[in-house]
């Protein structure tokens, strides 16, 4: 369950970034502020 003040679940996921296919692991961003955004789908309107 997600709660503020608790650890964010770690994950690794395929990614498209700077023209390349790569992989992103949340824990690689320890030491930085992260904004993680979910959205319903590419080409959705808002």
């Amino acid at each position: 369950m997600i709660q503020v003040g608790k650890k964010a679940p770690d994950f690794a996921a395929p990614a498209y970034f700077n023209g390349d296919f790569t992989s992103v692991k949340l824990s690689d961003y320890l030491g930085k502020w992260v904004v993680l955004c979910f959205y319903p789908g590419d080409f959705t309107f808002v």
Binding site: P9, A15, T22, L36
Partner: protein
């Protein structure tokens, strides 16, 4: 992050998003959540629709979730508000928890120093109109 594949992300980035932004490239990784496993872990995966709904999580340098906002698909986010919250969390963190940002705070506005002397005295430092503008 959405349930789209990285191939669809590439098409969207190259053919639509690149036309919306001055830099021409999306400045952050676009993540693929096929199967919705990550969305499920964060409580934003809609099993009926098979998609991740509009969720935004602010995670601090220790990997701790400081805030989140979840919306149904047709309503977009307010990026300025997300940035304001990050600035507030950063201020609190830099103060090692000694400061707090009251309702309506934004950079440049007064912060509070919680402690015995402030109990019952917030009304002297903060007025309702400070929640707005």
């Amino acid at each position: 992050m959405s349930t789209d594949s990285v191939f669809v992300h590439k098409m969207w980035a190259d053919h639509e998003l690149s036309k919306m932004i001055t830099k021409g490239t999306v400045p952050f990784p676009m993540l693929a959540d096929g199967g919705g496993n990550v969305g499920t872990a964060y409580g934003v995966y809609d099993e009926d629709a098979g998609v991740d709904v509009r969720g935004r999580f602010i995670i601090d340098p220790d990997g701790v979730i400081q805030g989140f906002e979840v919306l149904t698909p047709p309503v977009g986010r307010n990026v300025s508000e997300s940035l304001r919250q990050i600035q507030a969390f950063q201020l609190v963190r830099e103060s090692k928890g000694g400061k707090a940002t009251p309702s309506g705070w934004k950079p440049g506005k007064a912060v509070l120093t919680p402690g015995p002397d402030l109990v019952g005295k917030v009304w002297e430092e903060w007025k309702v109109q400070m929640a707005f503008d």
